[in-house]
Amino acid sequence: MKNEAQAESVLIEESKRNPQCFEPLYVKYYQQILKFSYRRMDSLDDAYEITASTFAKALSNIGKYKQQGLLFSSWLYRIAINEINQFYRDTNKRRTINIDDTNAKYIAEETGKEMQELKQALKIVLQQLNSDEIQLLELRFFEERPFSEVGEILGITENNAKVKTYRVIDKLRILFNKVS
């Protein structure tokens, strides 16, 4: 694992001088970023483009990336989030949220809501959350990321990520009650 991290670190430094060295990093993270984008999109073609532009931006800004503090993967997710937001701003399309039974299960656990009613209710109450709140739900519950990673991706502390996420859960509880 340490060797892998070292190899990645070497590739990052080399990429700053030679863009071709970025290719192994692209291959390594391409699938993660594509899936990440696709979960926030209706169209797979759009997800391909977001993924390509995420890596293009990462490559053109690799000189800025410092290896202390922020994981390379988190940095890529951060760029992907910006690209997705930019995409929705540019196209004026409605943002897409993809929920599946597994996601719903985690939210059911947290909110104490019965699974049968939850999915229907979720479709209503999610409309009342802002995009930051949706982001937190997606990262933590739909993608099951640890709070430390959620914090890194969003540029906030782990503790802050935790506090904010549970505020969203509290909000969901209240909204569920209103819906029912």
């Binding site: 863009p19 970025f22 290719e23 692209y26 291959v27 391409y30 699938q31 594509l34 899936k35 696709y38 979960r39 209706d42 797979l44 073609d45 997800a47 391909y48 483009e49 993924t51 390509a52 532009s53 890596f55 293009a56 931006k57 490559l59 053109s60 800004n61 000189g63 800025k64 922020l70 951060r78 930019q86 995409f87 540019d90 196209t91 409605r94 943002r95 897409t96 949220i97 993809n98 929920i99 599946d100 039974d101 999915k119 979720l122 479709k123 999610l126 409309q127 949706i134 540029g155």
Partner: protein, 533 residues
């Protein structure tokens, strides 16, 4: 209202679907377009009418297929037609009637050119370095337009935002040098061939090495990081040469051979291999021994004991220490390098041959250093005079002297536009309050504002507060705050005014009595006078 599309149980991506989108060459092209191609987003000068036309252009003349990428963001490259053709023309300049003027230079596109600005900066352009909007080489005479933003008044008048988005965090720039370079032929904008590099040796008064080079992306209106400014190391070529020669002299001085000494048969002597780089003064000799000099009682068994480490340490000129270490036991003895009789004769000969040579070599290097220092001082004086003259001209007779050393910050660019050697900083901290501005005259009229400008005069930093309802500043700094009123007047809050601010609770509203300068500004010098910058 429905804000989101909500999909249920989105199908998992298949292996084929994943592989279909994998295309590193496309990523590279897009990255190249972001890094090098954005100058094609620039503008073409139009004469007569000011208008904005947006149309697609090729991103890179070498990659005809690069424009075939389907993602709309990367096809939205624009050509802007403007009357003046400035890259910054779309910026909200606080006084549109007072531009920061360009210097113009006519050069031959096919020949190497080097031009010097009034402020002493040098622009070096390789031959055949320009292309037109279709990527065809530009030949014949062309015009360079160059301007520098040397201080906060220049930056303020340019309207160039000095905010920098660092991974989502808003920072403000502290500039060590900013300029704009454009090129035209027959009033049509031309571009730098991405394969070529233009060098700008910017005469900067800021000698720190904590700056980075940024490019102002006109399309996004944001600064983009380019690379670390290593100017201090690379720039002042003469200074660097002086540093190199000084180091060479130091090395030579350390390598002057030590005069050999004959061993005393009554004293304890130890033979050790020493590293040349540690003891260059004895490295030319063979069979050097270290003879213990002090009168400490020496254990005769010393040489029969096995030590973990035995080393020689140089303590002062011609003085050495023998260091023995075994576990926690340490023994140290003063010593001198000596030679047994036969070796001494050879060493003496070696010394005589090399000692004079070393001194002569040092003398030659000292002379080279003196010549370089003379050149450096002459160059420095010339740059300072040039800068002071240009400042004096700008301020209509006010003599601005610059006692600070100038250094040359080197920018390597392969696109035209605005470049900056900068250090992103946080907004000043210390005192924070909600803000209301009023005219300090008897009317006490409330001043509405969009943008507030705060300068810390002790730094080259202009902080902009857009539609700020909270304002923070550092009471320890020399502050100057101003805004432009709706009728184009300057409203100023001076450093003395800041000092008179009484403490309030954190975040509480404070009314700042602004002094309205009731002057219709016609030129930069007037603004400089009233802002005292």
């Amino acid at each position: 209202m429905k804000k989101y599309n909500i999909n249920e149980n989105h199908p998992e991506l298949t292996k084929e679907q994943i592989e279909k989108g994998m295309d590193f060459s496309k990523v590279k092209k897009m990255a190249a377009a972001k890094t090098y191609g954005s100058f094609y987003k620039a503008m073409i000068a139009g004469i007569g009418v000011t208008m904005l036309i947006i149309c697609p252009v090729a991103l890179n003349h070498n990659n005809a297929d690069s424009s075939s990428t389907s993602y709309s963001n990367y096809e939205k490259d624009t050509v802007v037609l403007s009357q003046k053709g400035s890259l910054t023309k779309e910026l909200a300049r606080p006084f549109p009637n007072i531009p920061v003027e360009y210097e113009k230079f006519t050069i031959e596109a096919n020949e190497y050119s080097s031009v010097k600005s009034a402020d002493g900066s040098v622009i070096k352009i390789p031959a055949n370095c320009m292309v037109d909007s279709l990527g065809n080489p530009v030949k014949g005479q062309m015009e360079l337009r160059y301007r520098e933003f040397r201080d906060m008044v220049d930056v303020f008048l340019s309207g160039i935002p000095m905010e920098y988005d660092s991974a989502g965090y808003k920072k403000h720039f502290e500039s060590a040098g900013m300029f704009e370079l454009l090129a035209y032929q027959n009033n049509k904008v031309v571009f730098v061939d991405p394969e070529k590099t233009i060098t700008i040796e910017f005469a900067s008064q800021y000698t720190d090495d904590r700056y980075n080079i940024y490019y102002f992306n006109q399309q996004t209106q944001r600064w983009e990081y380019m690379y670390k400014d290593t100017s201090k190391l690379n720039t002042n070529n003469l200074a660097k040469q002086i540093e190199i020669v000084t180091n060479e002299i130091n090395v030579l001085e350390k390598s002057i051979p030590l005069k050999p000494a004959l061993a005393n048969p009554k004293q304890v002597r130890i033979k050790l291999d020493v590293l040349e780089k540690e003891f260059p003064e004895i490295a030319i000799y063979n069979n050097v021994k270290f003879q213990i000099t002090n009168h400490q009682k020496i254990n005769p068994a010393l040489d029969t004991l096995e030590w973990d480490m035995v080393k020689v340490i140089k303590t002062e000129q011609d003085s050495y220490m023998l260091h023995f270490e075994r576990g926690t036991e340490i023994k140290e003895f003063s010593c001198v390098p000596v030679f047994e009789k036969a070796d001494y004769v050879i060493a003496k000969k070696t010394f005589e041959e090399n000692y004079k040579k070393s001194l002569e070599l040092i003398k030659i290097k000292e002379k080279t250093k003196q010549d370089l220092v003379k050149k450096y001082n002459a160059e420095k004086t010339s740059q300072q005079t040039s800068l002071a003259n240009s400042r004096a001209i700008r301020t209509f007779g006010t003599i601005v002297s610059s006692s600070q050393d100038l250094i040359t910050r080197v920018f390597y660019i392969n696109k035209f536009g605005v470049f900056n050697s900068d250090c992103p900083k946080n907004l000043p901290q210390g005192s924070l309050f909600a803000l209301k501005l009023v005219d300090r005259d008897s009317t006490r009229k409330v001043i509405s504002f969009n943008t507030l400008y705060l300068v810390e005069k002790n730094k080259n930093a202009l902080y902009t507060y857009y539609n700020a309802n909270k304002f923070s500043y550092n009471p320890a700094s020399r502050n100057l705050l101003w805004t432009v009123t709706s009728d184009n007047k300057l409203a100023v809050f001076s450093n003395e005014d800041f000092k008179a601010i009484k403490k309030t609770g954190k975040g509480e509203e404070r009314i700042l009595d602004m002094k309205i300068i009731k002057v219709d500004f016609k030129n930069e010098a007037q603004i400089r006078k009233y802002l005292d910058i």
